[in-house]
């Protein structure tokens, strides 16, 4: 207790260099302006989505809606239920792809990260280095040969063509492995060995609960990625297409659909934003271990 007290005092006495009240005020002012600018397009989107039709055509246009209404949201759902394929179908597709892809990714990536992090065996280093360097590639570059792989495997025009590649996302495995490296003490696993635990027991009952922050992080990145999956060359049946695709078709309708288009944008961002807010502190904890040694 005494030592703690002294430490605390020392912290108070030694303020860090050049921190001043004036500097703090400038900092908060700058932050306020910066955040406001960043928020502007989002606020604009919310406002557009609340505007009745006559305000969308107003000249000169006004930033804020004068008579906010939820009509655009209502119209969106009506438009979609009246269309050839009901809205609920696109919603289901996107939810299904997002949830299945994310769940599979978290389980497979954690299963692979565990031995890579805690054991040394022939090939383990090479595998991890390969995965780490493929962080540099992204889907767009691989799209063409991926099409061939998928048609060979017979995955074309099925949900699996989006879900299965998402299982193998490299960012997730990288973050999971880094987190396990730092957060799981070897002694813990050794003592479990003495108790006669199997590998699966150790993974499922010891490792997985500890790395909960990491799987929440994998969740947000995977959700973000899958939720925004729009038109892909791998799926051509209309009833298997995703929500962003359907929404992009609607918003092509020009200004008369601008209100509905904005409503779409608002709906699309809400789900990942909620996931992010819920898992925010865990994500920061995980990202602390994200560093790369050269």
């Amino acid at each position: 207790m005494k030592i703690m007290g002294i430490k605390k005092k020392r912290k108070i006495m030694k303020r860090r260099v050049s921190r001043s009240v004036r500097g703090d005020i400038a900092l908060y002012l700058f932050l306020l302006v910066f955040v406001a600018v960043m928020m502007l397009p989002l606020i604009f989107a919310v406002n557009m989505s609340l505007k009745p039709l006559n305000e969308l055509w107003l000249f000169p246009p006004r930033f804020f809606a004068v008579n906010p209404t939820l009509k655009n949201y209502y119209d969106l759902f009506r438009l979609m239920t009246d269309s050839w394929i009901p809205m609920s179908r696109y919603i289901f597709n996107t939810f299904f792809i997002t949830i299945a892809g994310t769940a599979g990714h978290i389980i497979l990536a954690s299963m692979a990260a565990y031995p890579l992090s805690k054991y040394k065996f022939p090939g383990s280093n090479m595998i991890f280095r390969l995965i780490r360097s493929s962080l540099m590639f992204s889907g767009a570059v691989l799209a063409v040969p991926n099409y061939l792989v998928m048609s060979t495997l017979g995955l074309i025009d099925s949900y699996l063509s989006i879900i299965i590649p998402a299982f193998g996302s490299t960012l997730g495995l990288f973050l999971m492995k880094q987190f396990m490296d730092q957060m799981i003490p070897d002694e813990l696993l050794k003592s479990a060995d003495i108790d006669g635990a199997t590998e699966w027991d150790k993974f499922w009952k010891i490792v997985m609960p500890i790395v909960k922050p990491a799987w929440l992080t994998l969740m947000i990145f995977s959700v973000q990625n899958l939720w925004n999956t729009g038109a892909t060359p791998y799926i051509y049946t209309e009833s298997k297409k995703t929500l962003p695709y359907a929404l992009s078709q609607i918003s092509l309708g020009g200004l008369s659909r601008a209100g509905i288009g904005a409503a779409i944008s608002v709906i699309m961002i809400l789900f990942p934003l909620m996931v992010f807010i819920i898992s925010q502190s865990n994500i920061i904890e995980t990202m602390a271990t994200s560093g790369m040694k050269d």
Partner: protein, 326 residues
């Protein structure tokens, strides 16, 4: 560990014996590795599902892409080997490719470092503010990157007729006399694309930087102050950045990957092909040949060029970051 038993006293018995020795050592090595590998059966079993998918959808496509780039391939017929012809065509005949390559490099050089710096700077600014406020600011700043471009909103804002918001404001203030066609005029398209990309760029690397800064023990700053650091910039350069070098490297990889993959923002803002190809990028050119024209060999050559650029810029940036704090 595995080499010891095979080091024999016959090491000087002549070249043949030496060779045999080496062979024996390699054999013993392999046998030993095999024994270790067998002991780790469970570990391989754990990795297998992920690895199979990773190989099928990342490794195989990369290798395939490189091989196909030397062929003519239209999916229907078997690929035909044509040597370097695709690459000649790319760099000699394809003016649009050269244009898109120049655009991609320009976008990457501008958005990569700028987004990286903004992410680092903002993470640094919010590092010292109270926790609750920091969380709120983090969520608010991260939100745009969740929006996936939101290009339809920007299309309304930059719309070319008088109902476009920017035009309306400028007309009202008397700055311009007639509406500007922002998204049809090459002079405006590029800055607007850059703006939209930067707007949504406080993503993964931003979170990594926040976490890296949070992880630095206060005592390092105190030690720095004792050693004669007098202002915040010195503190940043000599104390903070060297301590978060691993995060800086991670953020660099993420930034580079992102900034070379610009494509969907452009099509979202300007339609499939921007006026005069003014914002056409390599990724879009690749998609054009791969998924519209089905010239897979040619598209693979484009992808291979992009690989090489990304890998070399990654290596260059790694070297640069290793100089931090010197």
């Amino acid at each position: 560990m595995f080499n010891q038993p095979t080091v024999s006293n016959k090491a000087f018995a002549g070249p043949a014996a030496g060779e045999r020795n080496i062979m024996r050592r390699i054999k013993a090595d392999l046998a030993c590795k095999w024994r270790i590998a067998k002991k780790h059966k469970m570990q391989y079993l754990f990795i297998m599902p992920y690895l199979v998918i990773f190989v099928a959808f990342t490794v195989v496509p990369v290798v395939m892409s490189m091989c196909l780039s030397f062929t003519y391939f239209n999916i229907l017929e078997f690929p035909r080997f044509i040597g370097l012809q695709n690459y000649f065509r790319l760099f000699v005949d394809d003016r649009i490719f050269i244009k898109s390559l120049a655009n991609t490099i320009m976008f990457a050089v501008v958005t990569g470092p700028v987004s990286y710096m903004i992410a680092l700077f903002m993470a640094w600014l919010i590092n010292d503010i109270p926790r609750t406020l920091r969380v709120i600011v983090t969520v608010l700043l991260y939100a745009p990157s969740l929006a996936g471009g939101m290009t339809n909103i920007f299309r309304i804002f930059f719309s070319s007729d008088a109902t476009g918001y920017l035009n309306a404001i400028l007309l009202k203030w008397g700055i311009i006399n007639e509406p500007i066609k922002y998204l049809e005029n090459p002079d405006y398209i590029v800055p607007i694309v850059i703006f939209v990309i930067l707007w949504g760029s406080l993503g993964t690397q931003f979170l990594s930087f926040i976490a890296g800064l949070q992880g630095i023990d206060r005592q390092y700053y105190e030690a720095g102050a004792v050693d004669g650091i007098t202002n915040r910039w010195q503190e940043l350069w000599y104390v903070t950045l060297p301590l978060m070098k691993p995060q800086l490297l991670f953020g660099a990889v993420i930034s580079i990957t992102g900034s070379f993959n610009i494509g969907s923002v452009v099509t979202g803002l300007t339609g499939t092909i921007s006026a005069d190809y003014s914002a056409h990028t390599v990724v879009l050119h690749l998609q054009d040949y791969g998924t519209t024209k089905f010239e897979m060999g040619y598209a693979s050559a484009i992808a291979t060029v992009l690989f090489i650029i990304m890998i070399s810029s990654n290596m260059a940036v790694r070297k640069l970051i290793n100089k931090v704090g010197e």
